[in-house]
């Protein structure tokens, strides 16, 4: 079979194993042939690239639709967190309840506004939970976040479940829940967990434990450091 026929067979996609190997051998031996065949393969690839643009775009869109939710909100959360709840006045006898009341603020809802409209499978449940949460219906919110967590195993759902418990006044339950939990991504939740545990123990009047956790926050370098130091100053 001549070279031209081999090439024609290759590009028609109907080439035998034998002819394919013959082509391969030719490429190794015949420099001029290689150059000529290379040029034709090049043309084939460039035409294919152009023709495949719509298909590639289709797959790109598919990738976007199926992409996991971004987790940047967790980092944003650390930055946007409640600041300056009002300065605390010196008090020789710290009132734990008052300290708690002044410092406890439900963690801002930084999840729902971002995910909304993304058609996540649990979106209805999630937006419902956040609606309760945003309107201080913490008991209801806690129930739904718990369900959501059981279904998705998402850290954020567990986190908001705990804070909702605390908001609902179930401090003891919130504390034991948080203390027993292990996060999927501890680096995102550790400090904020210590903060809420510190506040929780403050409310229970357990000064020792409150100091234990708030000290961790105070040395974390995270946005809550200043507030934690402030409370520690009042306690000691």
């Amino acid at each position: 079979m001549n070279k031209e026929e081999l090439i024609a067979q290759y590009f028609s996609g109907q080439i035998s194993q034998e002819s394919f190997l013959a082509l391969k051998t030719l490429l190794e031996k015949d420099r001029a042939f290689k150059k000529d065949f290379y040029a034709q393969l090049e043309v084939q690839q460039i035409i294919a690239q152009e023709k495949n643009i719509p298909l590639k775009e289709r797959l790109d869109q598919l990738d976007q639709k199926s992409a996991p939710k971004t987790k940047w909100y967790l980092y944003a959360a650390a930055a946007t967190i409640l600041i300056a709840i009002g300065s605390l006045f010196y008090n020789s006898q710290p009132d734990y309840q008052e300290l708690y009341a002044k410092n406890f603020e439900a963690y801002p809802n930084v999840i729902a506004p971002i995910v909304r409209g993304n058609e996540a499978p649990n979106e209805n449940k999630m937006s419902l939970a956040f609606r309760y949460y945003d309107n201080k219906g913490y008991a209801k919110a806690a129930d739904i976040f718990k369900l959501l967590y059981n279904e998705t195993d998402e850290d954020y759902a567990f986190f908001y479940y705990s804070v909702s418990l605390m908001g609902a006044g179930e401090t003891t339950k919130a504390i034991s829940t948080l203390e027993q939990h292990s996060w999927n991504e501890p680096q995102n939740y550790q400090t904020i967990t210590h903060w809420y545990l510190g506040l929780g123990y403050l409310k229970l009047g357990n000064k020792e434990k409150a100091i234990f956790y708030l000290k961790k926050v105070a040395v974390s370098g995270k946005p809550l450091t200043k507030q934690a130091k402030e409370i520690l100053r009042k306690l000691q």
């Binding site: 024609a8 290759y10 590009f11 028609s12 996609g13 109907q14 080439i15 194993q17 394919f20 190997l21 082509l23 391969k24 490429l27 290689k34 150059k35 065949f37 290379y38 040029a39 034709q40 393969l41 090049e42 043309v43 084939q44 690839q45 460039i46 035409i47 294919a48 690239q49 152009e50 023709k51 495949n52 298909l55 590639k56 289709r58 797959l59 790109d60 598919l62 990738d63 199926s66």
Partner: protein, 181 residues
């Protein structure tokens, strides 16, 4: 396998929704597989898309009619070839050598074309006459035989078509050379 063959039949009819399904079904596994080589995530994403597109083209252009293995095996065979190509490509230190990668089992050749040259070639193709473009597309992309093209475009003989095709390639080459000067 029975279901796989049905999917192939669907793809022959260009049911892209079936291609979507296949694309998503093996994506995660392909990434896991590709990560065992030292290929970046971005490259894996590109390679996987290319793989699925090649797979689809082989079906629509009649290169693949009957599966002898599962879709997954076939898909991963293409993917593996493309990953190896990528790995070799990353190691290239000189540009002038003509690199042709091949895979005997899949019976494919692929060449390395630098980004710059791709751009020049695209422009050259764009500036080529419509008649020429049609012949080249039918032969190199659609995979029609010379006989089929002769019938399709009403050439008086196969030899006339052949010389037309050679002329077109030559013109393209000239356009490319001109761009480089």
């Amino acid at each position: 396998m029975i279901e796989d063959q049905q999917l192939i039949e669907d793809l022959k009819q260009k049911k892209l929704i079936v291609l979507d399904r296949i694309y998503l079904a093996y994506k995660e596994e392909f990434f896991l597989f590709a990560r065992t080589f030292s290929v970046s995530e971005d490259d894996i994403a590109d390679v996987y898309q290319e793989t699925v597109i090649s797979f689809y083209e082989n079906i629509t252009k009649g290169k693949l009619n009957q599966l002898t293995s599962s879709i997954k095996t076939y898909l991963f065979a293409i993917g593996k070839f493309k990953i190896y190509r990528q790995l070799k490509n990353n190691k290239l230190s000189f540009v002038d050598e003509l690199i042709i990668h091949s895979d005997e089992e899949l019976k494919i050749f692929e060449v390395e074309v630098s980004k710059k040259r791709q751009k020049v070639l695209k422009e050259a193709l764009y500036n080529l006459g419509a008649k020429c473009k049609e012949v080249l597309e039918l032969f190199y992309y659609e995979g029609l035989t010379l006989d089929e093209i002769q019938n399709f475009l009403n050439y008086s003989s196969k030899d006339v078509l052949k010389s037309q095709k050679s002329r077109c390639l030559k013109q393209l080459k000239e356009l490319v050379t001109k761009r480089y000067e």
